[in-house]
């Protein structure tokens, strides 16, 4: 408990900034929606007929003119990328930063099992992701209510749940990688998040690359797919869960026998 509290105390400023930034972007976009809606009927058909570009961002299957469509696309890009970057960053920093900052020697010479340390850090990462997502969800739902639109509860909650799971998966994978590092790996974390994001876009562009959508967690957090099906893709989620568990298992396996620098 002491360690989790300590981890969260160390993290709260960055968490606050990320949460409010992502939340604020979504709020601003939603406040622009009423203005756009009046002009949207004509724009919407243009957006959906831009060929490759439309399919890359799901514009062909989502109606940009409806709140759902607008939110699925707009939120997809803000919470999708922002949340993924945040999750990757805190995941990759979790174990590696102790050694990078020279605090590992302090922490690991206290009577704690390595397993206790790994667990506390993992829980702290998950709590941060949960806080970010709950707050952003509240801000989004609140804004929709304020602009006087009916809240599409089911869709918006499904979409946010998918993003939450995406972030958890990415954080778990980065957490696993973190156990192998001793210099910090911001580049690896950001690179991985962005690569997975583009993997989904490529998967959207051509059905030949459909398999990519099963590899990247962005595959199950695709607004157009979720809204059209009204549910999350169980198969992709299971793959995501498996990948997350592998990441976490890797962290326990490696860090328990790691030589600390």
């Amino acid at each position: 408990m002491t360690l989790i509290r300590h981890e969260l105390k160390q993290a709260w400023k960055a968490l606050l900034i990320w949460t409010l930034s992502i939340g604020a972007f979504i709020v601003i976009c939603l406040f622009m929606y009423p203005e756009m809606k009046s002009q949207m009927n004509s724009i919407s058909s243009i957006f959906s007929s831009m060929g490759m570009f439309s399919s890359a961002f799901g514009l062909d299957t989502l109606d940009f003119g409806s709140l759902k469509g607008f939110y699925g696309i707009e939120c997809g890009n803000i919470l999708g990328i922002g949340g993924a970057l945040f999750a990757a960053l805190i995941g990759i920093a979790a174990l590696a930063n102790e050694e990078k900052n020279g605090t590992a020697e302090f922490l690991l010479t206290h009577p704690l099992r390595r397993t206790e340390i790994i667990t506390a850090k993992l829980i702290s990462v998950l709590i941060q992701i949960l806080i970010l997502n709950v707050v952003v969800w509240l801000m989004a739902v609140g804004s929709i209510a304020v602009i006087g639109e009916p809240v599409p509860w089911k869709e918006i909650t499904l979409l946010h749940t998918a993003y939450f799971l995406l972030q958890v998966e990415l954080a778990c994978v980065c957490f696993g990688i973190s156990a192998f590092l001793w210099k910090g790996g911001i580049g690896i974390g950001l690179g991985l998040a962005i690569a997975l994001y583009f993997m989904n876009i490529i998967g959207n562009l051509t059905s030949k690359a459909d398999v990519l959508k099963y590899i990247t967690p962005f595959g199950y957090a695709d607004g157009s797919e979720i809204f059209n099906k009204g549910a999350l893709d169980g198969c992709k989620l299971l793959i995501g869960l498996a990948v997350s568990l592998i990441g976490v298992a890797l962290a326990y396996w490696k860090y328990n026998k790691k030589d600390i620098r």
């Binding site: 002491t2 360690l3 900052n101 020279g102 010479t109 704690l112 099992r113 030589d259």
Partner: protein, 295 residues
């Protein structure tokens, strides 16, 4: 057999192919004030970090307070206080919070001892750790190592950055603890510290213990520091070490037949002569570290 405070049997650590320590044997009895001497890169920190479970040994066996260093890490760490040579703390935290965190991680209330130590070391608990000088950060490390009143203190180069007054206060604290039964394991390359405070010491060189004895015996070898004014060529005494010549003054360490020395000196043109016992520093530097022969 009474269990040792620290015990290492053929303890070995290789980082890939790079040698950390190689077949190290060590035994420190409970209640000792023990010195651990060696140059940088000899394996002092590797030994300590292996004993504390930060790194795992490649081969050999180690025990701290009678417990196995691989299997009982947590139990060992509960009863040990460790001061690393380079102390880093979490940015943004005040000294007070840092000390509290360390105590909380040990599930102990160390408030009173902590306050007393801060007072004695003149450590301001309201400063942020990242604003502290190296010496003041060291003090935070000292309080973290001492506040839970461990049975065994392992100190890696503890006095770096401390001013002489603070060093003195620090060693008084250590001596008080030692008198109350705490075992102190002091790793240092400052030999005067070891000579002054430790009862026994081990010398480590290239990952191996090359001498381990009471400090008195380690320092008491046949070796003498010979200083003379006059002319004497180095090849007259091939066994001499640390040969220094300045303005007609010749100085060297000699650890061989005394008669041989006297005969050689008698044949030379000597105006002044002193023969003195060298201090531990000179002995370790010139006898234990070259070729490893025990002086």
């Amino acid at each position: 057999m009474e269990s040792k405070a620290i015990f290492a049997d053929n303890l070995t650590k290789y980082y890939g192919k790079a040698r950390g320590i190689d077949g190290l044997d060590l035994a420190v009895a409970p209640g000792e004030f023990f010195g651990f001497i060696g140059p940088n890169g000899a394996g002092k920190s590797t030994t300590i970090r292996t004993l504390l479970g930060l790194i795992s040994p490649t081969a050999g066996k180690g025990q701290v307070l009678g417990m196995d260093i691989v299997r009982n890490k947590k139990a060992i760490l509960e009863r040990v206080g460790y001061l690393p040579s380079d102390t880093a703390f979490y940015n943004g935290m005040k000294v007070r919070d840092m000390l509290k965190l360390s105590a909380d991680l040990r599930r102990k209330d160390c408030g009173a001892v902590s306050a007393e130590l801060c007072e004695r070391l003149q450590l301001d608990r309201d400063r942020k750790v990242e604003d502290l000088s190296f010496g003041n950060r060291k003090k935070v490390g000292i309080v973290c190592a001492l506040q839970h009143e461990p049975e065994l203190l392992i100190l890696d180069e503890p006095t770096g950055g401390l001013d002489p007054l603070m060093q003195h206060e620090f060693f008084s604290i250590l001596q008080e603890r030692n008198q109350k039964g705490t075992t102190v394991f002091l790793s240092s390359h400052i030999l005067s510290e070891i000579q002054r405070y430790c009862s026994r010491a081990a010398v480590i060189r290239e990952g191996k213990i090359i001498a381990c004895d009471s400090v008195e015996k380690l320092a008491k070898t046949g070796a003498r520091r010979v200083t003379l004014r006059g002319s004497l060529k180095p090849d007259a005494l091939p066994e001499a070490r640390d040969w220094k010549e300045t303005d007609g003054t010749v100085s060297f360490l000699y650890n061989d037949e005394m008669n041989q020395l006297v005969r050689t000196l008698a044949a030379a043109d000597i105006r002044e002569l002193t023969v003195a016992e060298p201090d531990l520093e000179e002995i370790v530097l010139h006898f234990y570290e070259k070729g490893g022969d025990q002086a």
